[in-house]
């Protein structure tokens, strides 16, 4: 059985600075992959590359056997000042990625501040429609019942937790075949963290494959099949669920004792 998502020797970053290099990542059908690593080491950049927001420099991104990016190396930039944005074709299209069913729920996204919850949810199935997948309009409210009473609120009046719920709900309306959740519990109170964690468990229980990024090793250990440890721009270890150590051990491994 081939993997659902196969990332091969992927390198990328923000021109001209390379952020990650030669990353290999595989997510099986029906699996949940965890991504753990220190802040500022390029996890989010990697995920933004996989979902096509920024162009990869080299490597392959295969989703269900289909290559999402233009294969080959990026064009080398000989001049520091030429505007390559108009000289170079984009090598990846986020629209295509989303329509294929690879859905990225970005970290701490403010979504659309002036659109109401109902309006936001009404445009969320665009990717599902574009990819010909059915999408259940009631799903957001079964996952997060409290969104129902906030239907007419603009996104900017939502609390951090509600906004995160809305973001995940939008992701689910896109009928994901693989859902990327980038730190869904970032900056939330313990109570809300639990609530969102429950929702992620529910999504996982429904059989949706997930790439989950979080800073809480315990949370990851409950959910993921494999944990990918990401530091200094590459995946340094892949741990099967049984081998995932606790938070302190993992951090000590990554940073050593301070000297």
């Amino acid at each position: 059985m081939s993997a659902l998502l196969k990332v091969e020797r992927l390198s990328g970053g923000y021109e001209p600075v390379q952020i990650f290099k030669d990353v290999d990542l595989e997510v099986e059908h029906g699996a949940c992959a965890g991504l753990f690593g220190p802040n500022g080491h390029g996890k989010t950049t990697l995920l933004r590359t996989i979902s096509g927001l920024i162009d990869p420099w080299s490597g392959n991104i295969l989703f269900d056997g289909v290559q999402l990016n233009t294969p080959g190396e990026r064009r080398t930039r000989r001049s520091r000042n030429l505007n390559y944005d108009i000289l170079v074709r984009r090598r990846m299209d986020p629209k295509k990625v989303a329509r294929a069913g690879l859905i990225h729920v970005a970290q701490g996204s403010p979504l659309f501040p002036e659109l109401t919850v109902a309006e936001t949810l009404s445009i969320a199935p665009a990717a599902a429609r574009g990819g010909g997948r059915p999408s259940d309009p009631e799903l957001p409210f079964t996952l997060f019942p409290q969104l129902k009473e906030r239907r007419q609120s603009k996104a900017r009046f939502l609390s951090g937790g509600e906004r995160q719920m809305l973001a995940i709900a939008c992701g689910m309306l896109a009928a994901p075949r693989l859902l990327i959740l980038d730190e869904p519990t970032l900056g939330l109170s313990p109570k809300l963290r639990l609530e969102l964690a429950d929702a992620v468990h529910a999504i996982r229980g429904a059989g949706v494959p997930i790439i989950l990024v979080d800073q809480d090793v315990g949370f990851l250990r409950d959910l993921v099949d494999k944990l990918h440890v990401f530091d200094h721009g590459s995946i340094s270890r892949v741990l099967p669920r049984a081998d995932i150590p606790d938070h302190e051990t993992l951090m000590a491994d990554l940073f050593g004792k301070a000297h």
């Binding site: 108009i86 986020p94 989303a98 859905i103 996204s109 979504l111 659309f112 501040p113 002036e114 665009a126």
Partner: protein
């Protein structure tokens, strides 16, 4: 001041207001969606007027007023999308996009204005109005052309409002305006939406040009003055909501009408700009709005 004077002042304020609303709509929607200020907007107005003249007038293709107007608006939609492609898209991901597009749209305005000059010459022209004569309704005396204009603009504004608020495409345009990346991740075609937005703004500017060209004389620089007024409107209204620039447009139209009557034609622009600066000092987000996008 007697009642007929008051009515005639209000009436001319209304006529100005609908024109300003049309012009400000395009500026505001481009500003909120793409985060840039389009200095070529005035040139769009002039281009729309000349195209309508070319299609409609007996001296040119002679298709008639309405056919000319429709064709001009359609052509302006395409021109707007092309201008976006050439002048704005190159900087889509550039951190200095605001400044760079100021100069490219200024240059674009120069190019369009001079092209109009090259093609149609500097001589004054006028679009033959759709209707002649006056409508009398009680104390209200109105040129038929003005009545047509007010009616068409009202319908257009309602249609635009309905489009932006109710249709999926309009909602997508608003979504892109507020968070480009989230829109991309939802699978929306951001580039297409940008081009559509710019096209729509240009088409509406073209419509404004058609009306201006049929009540005043046309010249390649006829858009400069409306552009400045639209600027005042957009600042006074703020850009947070579609409706706020419409309110501001009518406010500016009526203030201008009163100011012209009481202070005189010469001082009116100074009054407007002074008022605008005052508003900006006191309430930078506009009279009716919440500041939403300060790049």
């Amino acid at each position: 001041m007697d009642l007929p004077t008051l009515i005639s002042i209000l009436q001319s304020g209304l006529a100005l207001g609908v024109l300003y609303a049309l012009m400000a709509f395009g500026l505001a929607i481009v500003w909120t969606t793409l985060g840039i200020f389009n200095f070529a907007h005035g040139a769009f107005i002039a281009a729309g007027a000349y195209l309508a003249w070319q299609f409609g007038n007996a001296a040119a293709f002679g298709l008639g007023y309405w056919a000319g107007a429709v064709l001009a608006v359609a052509a302006m939609f395409v021109i707007g999308a092309v201008v976006q492609l050439l002048l704005v898209r190159p900087f889509e991901r550039h951190r200095d996009i605001v400044l760079l597009t100021v100069i490219t749209t200024l240059a674009g305005a120069t190019i369009i204005t001079n092209l109009l000059n090259v093609i149609w010459g500097p001589r004054m022209k006028q679009i033959e109005p759709a209707l002649d004569g006056e409508i009398v309704f009680g104390l209200v005396h109105m040129r038929s052309q003005e009545a047509v204009m007010i009616a068409v603009v009202a319908v257009t504004l309602f249609a635009l409002g309905w489009f932006l608020l109710r249709t999926p495409l309009g909602r997508s345009m608003r979504a892109v305006a507020q968070n480009r990346e989230a829109a991309q991740l939802m699978g929306l075609d951001v580039r297409l939406l940008y081009a559509l937005t710019f096209g729509l703004a240009a088409a509406v500017a073209g419509l404004a040009g058609v009306f201006i060209g049929s009540i005043r004389f046309m010249s390649p620089t006829m858009g400069d003055d409306p552009l400045q007024k639209a600027l005042v409107v957009v600042i006074l209204g703020g850009v947070a909501r579609f409706t706020s620039s419409v309110y501001a447009a009518f406010a500016v139209g009526i203030i201008e009408a009163f100011s012209t009557y009481f202070v005189g034609l010469y001082w009116t622009p100074a009054v407007l700009f002074g008022l605008m600066i005052l508003v900006l000092i006191v309430k930078p987000e506009g009279l009716f709005g919440r500041r939403q996008r300060s790049v």
